[in-house]
Assembly symmetry: C2
Homo-oligomer: 300 residues x 2
């Protein structure tokens, strides 16, 4: 059985680490803010004093932090995983970062005989808690297959996409579709509200056919009751869409709709609303539409 | 039991009329192209020589034609329904036309003591054949309830939205969401294709979570195998989006995303592709993205 090291005990990482413990994996944890390791230690994990020390004790090292610089710091930094990891061990980065940064980190690790998989997730805090995350994996297939028992402790839909970076690409595809679908839902709701029709009846009518989506089913009801708590924060979606547009620039790829929704989310950030859930996009769509027929629950 | 008159035996109307016959409703039919009535007559319907004559024989008159001028012609024209309909009868318009035109026609009918419901549908040809359409209804609630047995012969999800025009508004909301969601799916596919990842694996990975939608499940596979047959034609979607944007103008309502996707579909129409299915939107998104990494099945 793999000895697992886990770096990054945030909203996602903490419940994921608990699921690994419950699945029986010997677990070592490290977090930038050390107090967050306490809860895991009381559940049976041991704490390491650095990513390096964590790597020395582990055969599989999972990282789930915010962005590429954070991954680079814990993997390649002075006290990083690379200085402790044995040849043949595996780093699984479950953060969402750029495919290019992923491939660069993987190349550095390969110089030390350490494998890397990129394995970003979707499914949010609830999926992390319930072990029902979707996991999109890039890297060598044999390494993926070796790590499958680890993934199965964390998620339900586990898909091998392709070589290094391919998991990150699939995650970015996911975010492009999520953001664009949400914008469509917001614009439909705005049209309904300004037309004066019963919003709930309209939602009921359209949610069973070609307009159906996860965003419509899950976000529209939150919007109608004025609930803008995250779910998934605007500022994290913006980080992901920034990566999408960076990749677009590298590939000379025009992404009209994604560029637009990124700018609309930026208007939310400019209003200090970056910590709200992505469904707060409705506030910008509504402001564009004019102030005359506010949706219920929306502030002045 | 209502005696039903049915006007408009097109792709949608013909199977709907057959379902009414099979449900036992005495049926009179009329179509602008008279030869199309033959199949219905052989199933037990009688043919009328004009909408006026059809209305004389009916207590409920259904119209499903293309656009507002067509509805106005068959309902209010020289040989129109209004000249034959008895006081207390009901016109159910199942076309997709503007809420304003609906209210104007309803007002004209009311002067003759004739009720009107607007009851546009979604679910396409297959839904029409199988009697599983979604039907969104506007008008007086008591008239809706009287006509419920007729609707139940045609569809499954039957929703009363509100007063005259509200059914049309709900249908337009549906089309706003459908078009925007489809654009998001196309842009996600483009990103995946240009990044060089396995498209099927990527679709499998993203289709179970927050990116899930009817458009993703039904249109993305068609796009991947280069199948651009309608489904729902670009030119009909454009008619509906034109109505959306007309209503937006009347309400001084900015619809940024819908305006954008309408213009993208226009590029398709300009290439003579208005008769393809809406999933052909991928061709424009792909052309915008540059020609270097074509999706499989796409022509030069």
């Amino acid at each position: 059985m793999e000895r697992v090291g886990f770096i990054g005990l945030g909203i996602m990482g903490r419940p994921m680490a608990i699921n690994l413990l419950r699945a029986g994996f010997p677990l070592t944890v490290w977090n930038r803010t050390p107090t967050k390791t306490q809860a895991l230690v009381s559940e049976g994990a041991s704490a390491a004093s650095s990513p390096r020390e964590l790597a020395e004790r582990s055969t599989v090292i999972i990282t789930i932090v915010t962005d590429a610089p954070d991954v680079e710091e814990v993997v390649l930094g002075p006290q990083g995983v690379v200085h402790g990891a044995k040849s043949g061990s595996v780093v699984i980065d479950m953060s969402t970062i750029s495919p290019r940064a992923t491939r660069e980190i993987a190349a550095r690790l390969a110089q030390h005989g350490v494998h890397m998989l990129d394995a970003p997730v979707t499914g949010g805090e609830v999926g992390a808690q319930q072990g029902t995350l979707s996991i999109m994996v890039g890297g060598e297939r044999a390494v993926f297959e070796r790590c499958l028992p680890v993934f199965q402790a964390l998620g339900k839909r586990i898909t091998y996409i392709g070589g290094s970076g391919a998991g990150q690409t699939a995650k970015l595809v996911n975010q492009i579709i999520v953001a664009g679908t949400l914008l469509a839902v917001c614009e439909g709701l705005l049209f309904a509200a300004r037309s004066g029709v019963d919003l709930q009846a309209t939602l009921d009518a359209v949610s069973g056919g070609a307009a159906q989506s996860w965003q419509l089913e899950n976000q529209a009801p939150r919007i109608l009751r004025g609930d803008f708590a995250p779910g998934f924060m605007v500022k994290l979606m913006q980080k992901d869409l920034r990566i999408v547009l960076d990749v677009g620039r590298e590939l000379a790829l025009s992404l009209l709709a994604t560029g637009q929704v990124h700018q609309l989310f930026r208007a939310l950030e400019a209003q200090g609303l970056g910590q709200e859930g992505t469904q707060a996009l409705m506030k910008v769509v509504e402001a564009l539409g004019g102030a005359r027929a506010r949706l219920p629950g929306h502030e002045g």
